[in-house]
């Protein structure tokens, strides 16, 4: 049984302008110990999907619906809030984008770590401190007993992200959701943090759901990639296949728009024309059609479903299917 099975997940926000379909039927499965990257531009629904899985979207305005969404055999959408709270931090944890704001400025690092132990395990005092210091050591902080008593503002961004990773992995969750974990960091620190995340997750055999818009991060870290566009997964494949033989025109466009070291200087970067569609007024048919260079007649009124186009590669595109 896979660790996480998501079927037909929908998230709709009620707004004065009408319902916004932020996530519009997402399917994927994630095995223990694997890393899946959700890639897409801002507003493609990748962060909303992860928050829906954590059960952190405020309702109203959010409405989360869908087929069975199973995590360790528990139906996430049907479980009562108390049970979901037991899962959070314990079985599934999250690492946030901005380590500068994700730690409480008024609590010491140690207090924020031991709080997790206290909430889920009832461990307090010396044993909690020992466990937290061990974890701080594991994420590469040199003087854990000193760091334990320090406040977040005394740490640099990279160190804070290490603390966030320590916090997320403290109870050895089986799923770690990392929402753009390296966006606010220097490139060198980025590499360290990603390596650390991967190493610690592998040690626990935890699955990682990596949310990012940085294809470089994806290539170096993920096992599988799911590309999202307008609230749907448009292409899902293992990382090598996706970079070597992308089938969806959107994925191709994304990869072509990356600047390359070997490209001729002063040649203009290739871009995908147009903008992502307004989520309140999605076009009929394929949402990518207005920007697509290979669109055919059928794309205008029928929405392509995710189909297997090659072994281990699923694409939602009529043209790719025919090819």
């Amino acid at each position: 049984m896979p660790l996480l099975e998501i079927h037909d997940l929908h998230v709709t926000f009620r707004t004065p302008e009408g319902p916004v379909h932020a996530v519009d039927g997402v399917d994927f499965t994630l095995e223990r110990g694997r890393t899946l990257a959700l890639v897409g531009e801002s507003g493609s629904g990748k962060s909303v999907s992860s928050l829906a899985l954590m059960g952190l979207l405020p309702s109203p305005p959010a409405i989360v619906r869908g087929g069975p969404c199973l995590f360790e055999g528990i139906s996430l959408l049907e479980a009562p809030e108390a049970e979901r709270r037991r899962l959070r931090g314990n079985r599934m944890a999250m690492i946030f984008q901005d380590p500068m704001t994700a730690l409480n400025p008024f609590l010491t690092i140690g207090r924020q770590l031991t709080e997790v132990l206290e909430v889920h395990r009832g461990v307090e005092g010396r044993p909690a401190r020992a466990r937290a210091e061990q974890m701080l050591h594991d994420v590469g902080l040199a003087d854990p007993s000193r760091a334990f008593d320090q406040y977040p503002h005394e740490f640099s961004g990279g160190m804070r992200q290490r603390v966030m990773i320590a916090m997320a992995l403290l109870l050895e969750p089986s799923l770690v959701i990392a929402d753009e974990p390296t966006t606010g960091l220097d490139v060198t620190v980025q590499a360290q943090i990603l390596a650390l995340l991967k190493e610690r997750a592998q040690k626990n055999e935890a699955a990682v759901l990596l949310i990012t818009h940085d294809l470089g991060v994806v290539a170096g870290t993920a096992d599988e990639v799911a590309v999202m566009y307008a609230g749907r997964i448009v292409e899902h494949a293992d990382v090598d296949t996706l970079f070597r033989a992308p089938r969806h025109p959107y994925t191709r466009g994304l990869l072509q728009s990356l600047p390359r070291l070997d490209s001729t200087p002063k040649v203009e970067l290739s871009v995908i024309p147009g903008h992502p569609p307004d989520p309140v007024r999605l076009p009929a048919g394929c949402p990518f059609r207005p920007r697509c260079r290979v669109a055919v007649e059928r794309c205008a009124h029928e929405r392509p479903a995710l189909q297997e186009v090659a072994p281990g590669q699923r694409t939602a595109c009529f043209v790719a299917e025919g090819a």
Partner: protein
């Protein structure tokens, strides 16, 4: 991208010569920081001296606050009466001590009420938002529209004149502003990432409110609380002036000041002493509040 394990070398080097941080909780840390603030320490000691003076003083003085010294009559300070006597010939020092007991008690009680009710209501309201917020804030609005004097007169008329009623009347109005201040603070913090991070860790709503949000609102809360004490003392004086609060021969600083003001042309000391005590107390409270605000903010630590 796949950095080898050596690259994960420890990054936090201990700064040489930095004393080991011994503190654990916010309060222990705050206490250490407060002790370094000279103005706050001086203010705290002065306040302690005034409290001691008021609480212990009356037992040591040969004079009673409600019995006039008939041989002496109303006169200025002397060795017999250090602060002089009031218009009826009662020892002013003992009256100031007794007045201080009452004023400090009222100030403290109203502040405790304002802190406990105001902070809780404000934090709950701001955190949950929506209907809870609308309901609680409309309640605050309704209570706000009630004129304080009218409310106090009403209570005193129904329950008779007593100190408890004065406490209730003052407490009922002072928590309103506190609730609004805390709500505003919490509203701006509620969507902070660390709150969401705490939720992803499975912390309950109450845990978030009391462990994460309220400590973050302490700065403005403490400052407002130190402003509440003098405001309440003055309101009590106002009530007493109208004949609704404390009745003679009992005394409070507010009452003594208003009596003194009436006789200031021929017995100026009757105004000066209680006014001086009141002012020094208020000044000390402000310094102490300022020091506390800085001490409770971990980011001010190495300033």
């Amino acid at each position: 991208m796949n950095a080898p394990a050596e690259q994960l070398a420890p990054v936090l080097e201990p700064a040489p010569g930095e004393p080991e941080a011994a503190g654990q909780s916010l309060w222990q840390d705050a206490w250490r920081r407060l002790r370094k603030n000279r103005a706050a320490v001086a203010a705290g000691l002065t306040l302690l001296a005034i409290i001691l003076f008021c609480v212990v003083g009356p037992w040591l003085s040969p004079w009673r606050f409600d019995v006039p010294d008939l041989e002496y009559g109303p006169q200025g300070p002397s060795l017999r009466h250090w602060f002089g006597t009031d218009a009826l010939g009662r020892d002013l020092m003992v009256r100031c001590m007794m007045g201080g007991r009452l004023s400090l008690l009222i100030g403290l009680a109203a502040t405790v009420v304002s802190l406990s009710i105001g902070v809780t209501v404000g934090a709950v309201s701001g955190y949950f938002g929506g209907r809870v917020d609308a309901l609680l804030m409309r309640l605050v609005d309704v209570l706000y529209t009630m004129p304080f004097i009218f409310f106090a007169i009403l209570l005193l008329a129904i329950f008779g004149r007593s100190l408890v009623v004065v406490f209730v009347a003052l407490g009922a109005v002072t928590w309103l502003t506190m609730a609004r201040i805390v709500r505003g603070q919490v509203l701006s913090l509620r969507n902070a990432e660390f709150v969401q991070a705490a939720r992803t860790m499975g912390v309950s709503h109450l845990g978030i409110i009391f462990r994460h949000l309220i400590p973050n609102t302490l700065g403005p809360t403490i400052v407002y609380a130190t402003l509440t004490v003098p405001a309440v003392m003055l309101q009590e004086a106002f009530l007493s002036f109208l004949g609704l609060g404390i009745a003679a021969p009992d005394a409070s600083w507010g009452l003594l000041v208003s009596d003194g003001a009436a006789n200031m042309t021929f017995l100026p000391h009757e105004l000066i002493f209680p006014a001086l005590l009141l002012s020094i107390t208020l000044l000390c409270l402000n310094f102490l509040g300022d020091g506390l605000r800085d001490a409770l903010d971990p980011r001010m630590r190495f300033d």
